[in-house]
Symmetry: C2
Subunit: 344 residues, 2 copies
Amino acid sequence: MFENAARTEISSLGEFGLIDHLTKNFVLKNNTLKGVGDDAAVIATEAGKRTVVSTDLLVEGVHFDLSYFPMKHLGYKAVVVNLSDIYAMNAKPKQITVSVAMSSRFSLEAIEELYAGIQLACEKYQIDLVGGDTSASKQGLTISVTAIGEANEEELVYRSGAKANDLLVVTGDLGGAFCGYQFLEREKRVYLDNPQVQPDLSGHDYIIERQLKPEARKDIIDILKALDIKPTSMMDVSDGLASECFHLAKSSGTGITVYEEKIPIDPTTYNFARELEMDPTLCALSGGEDYELLFTMSQADFAKIEHHPDFSIIGYVTEASEGINLITKSGNKHPMKAQGWTAF
Amino acid sequence: MFENAARTEISSLGEFGLIDHLTKNFVLKNNTLKGVGDDAAVIATEAGKRTVVSTDLLVEGVHFDLSYFPMKHLGYKAVVVNLSDIYAMNAKPKQITVSVAMSSRFSLEAIEELYAGIQLACEKYQIDLVGGDTSASKQGLTISVTAIGEANEEELVYRSGAKANDLLVVTGDLGGAFCGYQFLEREKRVYLDNPQVQPDLSGHDYIIERQLKPEARKDIIDILKALDIKPTSMMDVSDGLASECFHLAKSSGTGITVYEEKIPIDPTTYNFARELEMDPTLCALSGGEDYELLFTMSQADFAKIEHHPDFSIIGYVTEASEGINLITKSGNKHPMKAQGWTAF
């Protein structure tokens, strides 16, 4: 009964382009200090307090494969990825809402498992589940989580505050979640070819856990406070280091230079990448889903984190004109490519 | 790779039972004054202010049929149904987040239309879109909206405050959205049988608009304030009057008696129901999607609304022991059945 004259494929814009495109004409009218365009939205309350909101959608067959992703882990991860966005604002998540659409293929027990994982995450991170909706779907499972957090006005850190000569810092290590994904996909193919074979997970626990049970860096917010460091910009590493560098640089109007040799990669990740003849650095740059925090800070704070085991200084902020670059281990400078993971 | 020993069908619990079941072990830990169990969650901020959050999921083939539901109307409705939940707390919505999962069948233009409707609703109701996520899906369209509002502490109205002898009041009229749905389904069947026939919408504008472009009762919040009425309990009519009476009574620990002859039904709704040999009262009781407000208030406030065109006094609150009853036009008293619409 309805038809469209023109047709543009959504895939031609990519996820970020689509959101920008769709929301560019929306005008903020209320006490909203930050709408679309950062890890979370910021809402003014009273006397310097801020409410922070973030939302994510997880779709079966796009974001997860239930042939190897246990429902409980999925519930846990669905919450954690949202909390990560709140921490990336240097804020503390306090509440979530969770909505789930599922086909008749799912039993009550399966959905209970999902919620058991959600509950586990709520307990670990001290979060209140405050709402949600459930519905049938024609096919598959879709999970929508919205996280709400708070911060004092002066503590919030946006993507847009990086300045030339700031240090670029990342927490933990990168590429593990992507290698875990590659491992699980490989074991799935083995299993499909020969269902009698039990998967051999030994020695790969770390990368599997990075993929199936990621954690948000709640601890970092407290550590930064204890060290008296306020990052100039920050975001979480959900789409891969390269993609996040582009986001930070674009939002801040700067360039970024990263040293390949400084990128923290766990030995397990490194070895598995080599086993699959993948470049470990590329896993870190383009893999995503590590949920580490990437931030910039003043050089004046260098001594505070120089020897801290949770932090790696991987580069620095430049003028925008210098672009986004990677200094390879061999000392060559290459423009970085933002080939993050996309849901289209 | 995974299997469940036992299997209970989700449909055996129904939508509300499932949410209750899944969330019953979650414990509130923060400044959350109200979690799952009302139209919206309530979060304490400072100095008597409250943040209010509500979320809804709309799934193609379950909540809407795109063969007659224009994308723009769908976007508008997706927002409005969430705002309705915030108004039902006697609060004012201020922000929304919107997440959308869509299959490759949808063009950019189609999604733009969806967002045009979202934007229209944001303008009409003065709401900021503050976040969201978009993703591919394997099949169909899913929309998740979270609305955030605020109220002064003393203004909030829950479902749980009704007292015996309070008056039961509903705004506007009921059953129209359900008749609009029946009309559109009928025209769809006619069209599928004979695509040359253009649908004849004349005379049915009202019920079609009730279904395709519902409004949330923003005005009622202001009217109640102007009349100096604070309802003792309130919720919106999304699942049908009968279902909502059960919710209010259960939350408040009371009974409810409704007079059939007092239920407001528009003549267009009445005539169309009769044309289809449906009972107009049943359309109001079980149809849902009217997004009117149903509330209880002290008899002391009776004179303030007695002749007000926006309100119909349709019954009263009783002791719980009396149950939920309908006094028919013939004067007989029958226990009411809660046969609201369910998404399973």
